[in-house]
Amino acid sequence: MSGLRSTSLGTAILSFAIVFAFAGILFSNLSWAVLSVTFASAYVYAYLRFVTELQRTNLHIERSALEDISFAQEPTSITVDILNKDPITVRGTFEDILPENCELSAGMNKSVRDLPPKSVLKLSYSLVPNKRGPLVIPGMKIARNDSLGLFDEEQIIEHPTVINVHTEKGSFDAARKMAGKEHLESSGMGRSPAVVLRELEFDGIREYVPGDRARDIHWKVFPKLNKLMTKTYRKEGSLQTMVFVDCSRSMRLKRSKVAKVDHAVDLSMQLSNVLISSLYPAGVAIFDEIKVLTKAPPALGRHQFEKIVQVLREAPSSIEESEEGTVRTEETESNKTMEPKQISLKANVEGKEFLSALDRIATRGMRPALGIGLEGGIKEIIAKNRGREQLYVIISDLVSSRDAVIAGAKLCKSTGNKMLVIHTYDDWYRNAEALLDMPEAERLYGDLSDSLKIEATFRGLGVSYLRIGPADTASRIVRAIRRGKA
């Protein structure tokens, strides 16, 4: 607190003190000077009292979100209870500070009132998060008024509340719709199995034995052989599938409307639901350059999809990039008036780290060292499953984690596991309306050439590969996998 702001009344009182002092000089009467001193001492009393009030502030703030899951672009209801535990009344405008990247949709996040001792103020409002990721409500701003009306001061009480905002609700609806319709396994005889194997593989035919199921009878050969034959199947264990979502900094960079990490989160959720609905155990893990951040091991069951959703809620949010190539942190009107220390310090630090990481990649002309995040995660799952075959679906842009994914592919090949790499191709996530000049065209050609080389590397390692852009929906990807295009 550098100093309290004097209100117009405070300024008026000081002005009268000065005027009375001049009157004393003018009339050579010390009564006016005494009056001046009295007004000045009243001003000092008000100042000291307000400072004491500010120091004594003892508010108990309880903030909660009413919804269990918050979705991007959907209103989230927030309630705030403020209890004044001090015997002095708190006067002013109470305002719950809205976080960046969200808008107030209903209710009021501020209230102008006096909060007497031992009383509670309730604020209820709804806000609409603009994007997926953790939404941090930093605290409460109180525009405090002096009880004598001479001073005011903006007081910020830090009491952060983090709400993990999930992807848009439409993505959930899409996952739900896909669950019943789409499937990853191929059907029919003679076709090469797709990525996910069927549970029962056709083995051969034998003579009918009473007790065989009617649906297993091979009716087509009955006219030729004039006897009933039964189809037999070889049971194969269904593949456990682990979807790895790359949340490295290159994935988080948002250059157009869709960030790669958001698209990857949507896809992983929808693919997992397709697998679970087809009774294939599925799990999800999110990883960055350093480690596997969190994971839900492959499993079946009613609550598996909820577990997957919980894991995906932890995925870090996207980072905006302006046209100049610098990371931009959004500022709302409310934040412009905040204390400097309150202004998205975390976002700035993250942005700087990110830029320095990109600079290192660009200047050295080399990729970062082998990522231990993905590789370590795959090794752990292989060790736990003791030789049971697994399918690993990796959704990555192969910028920060390229070497880690290749190392994981080698590991899968050596251990007899399957891998599908869904490559969120970086250039397709850039602004399509950008001017295409010769250097840009050369860069695009170079990137594509690199991508083809990577694809060849993966194919050589027996890994299925799919290059996708922001327009590729989960349905299209599932169909592509089923048709063996991956």
Binding site: M1, G3, L9, I13, F16, A17, F20, A21, A23, G24, I25, F27, S28, N29, L30, S31, W32, A33, V34, L35, S36, V37, T38, F39, A40, S41, A42, Y43, V44, Y45, A46, Y47, L48, R49, V51, T52, L54, Q55, T57, N58, L59, H60, I61, E62, R63, D81, K85, P87, I88, T89, D114, P116, P117, S147, L148, G149, L150, I157, E158, H159
Partner: protein
């Protein structure tokens, strides 16, 4: 901290106004101005309306300052007169007039420490002229000085300004970030 109910505050205001009236010259104009001012202060306090109280305060202050003669503050009896007839009742009236709207929801609160500091500050300011003369006489006893009312007022103003700056700066420096308690 001391809480003052509305009744006590009204009583205090009446006592302060009577005090001012007793020490004033009893001309018709002064009595009329003090009566109007007192009525406005009491109305403002009664209806929790600060502008009315402040207007009344200014009328009472101007009338009383014009009606009470204080030629000098270098003598003890005059200092006592200034404190009893002007400083204390005007401080009380100023505080009551400013806190007119505070009593709307709760009793008016007087924080002891700030009030004590403010009163000591007022006393030191009023005694600054004799203290200054005493110090000058001790340091240079051979110098003969003529202290006019203007000189006294100048000394008091310098003391008031310096004291205000020191007190408000110290309070700002002492202020720490407000305490919070985490909710669930």
């Amino acid at each position: 901290m001391i809480f003052f109910s509305r009744r006590v505050r009204l009583l205090m205001a009446i006592v302060a106004i009577v005090d001012l009236a007793v020490f004033s010259q009893h001309s018709v104009l002064v009595i009329l101005a003090q009566t109007i001012g007192a009525a406005l202060i009491l109305l403002g306090m009664f209806y929790d309306y600060r502008p009315s109280s402040l207007t009344g305060l200014l009328i009472v202050a101007t009338a009383s300052a014009a009606a009470i003669e204080l030629p000098s503050l270098l003598e003890v009896d005059l200092i006592l007169t200034a404190i009893v007839s002007m400083a204390i009742p005007m401080f009380v009236l100023t505080w009551l007039a400013l806190s007119a709207e505070e009593g709307e929801t709760t009793d008016v609160l007087l924080l002891k420490r700030p009030a004590t500091i403010a009163l000591v500050f007022a006393l030191v300011c009023l005694s600054s002229a004799p203290i200054m003369v005493l110090v000058m006489n001790l340091l240079a006893p051979t110098i003969s000085m003529r202290i006019t009312p203007t000189t006294e007022i100048a000394i008091i103003l310098i003391a008031t300004t310096a004291g205000s700056i020191v007190l408000t700066r110290r309070a700002s420096a002492a202020a720490r970030p407000p305490g919070t308690q985490e909710g669930t």
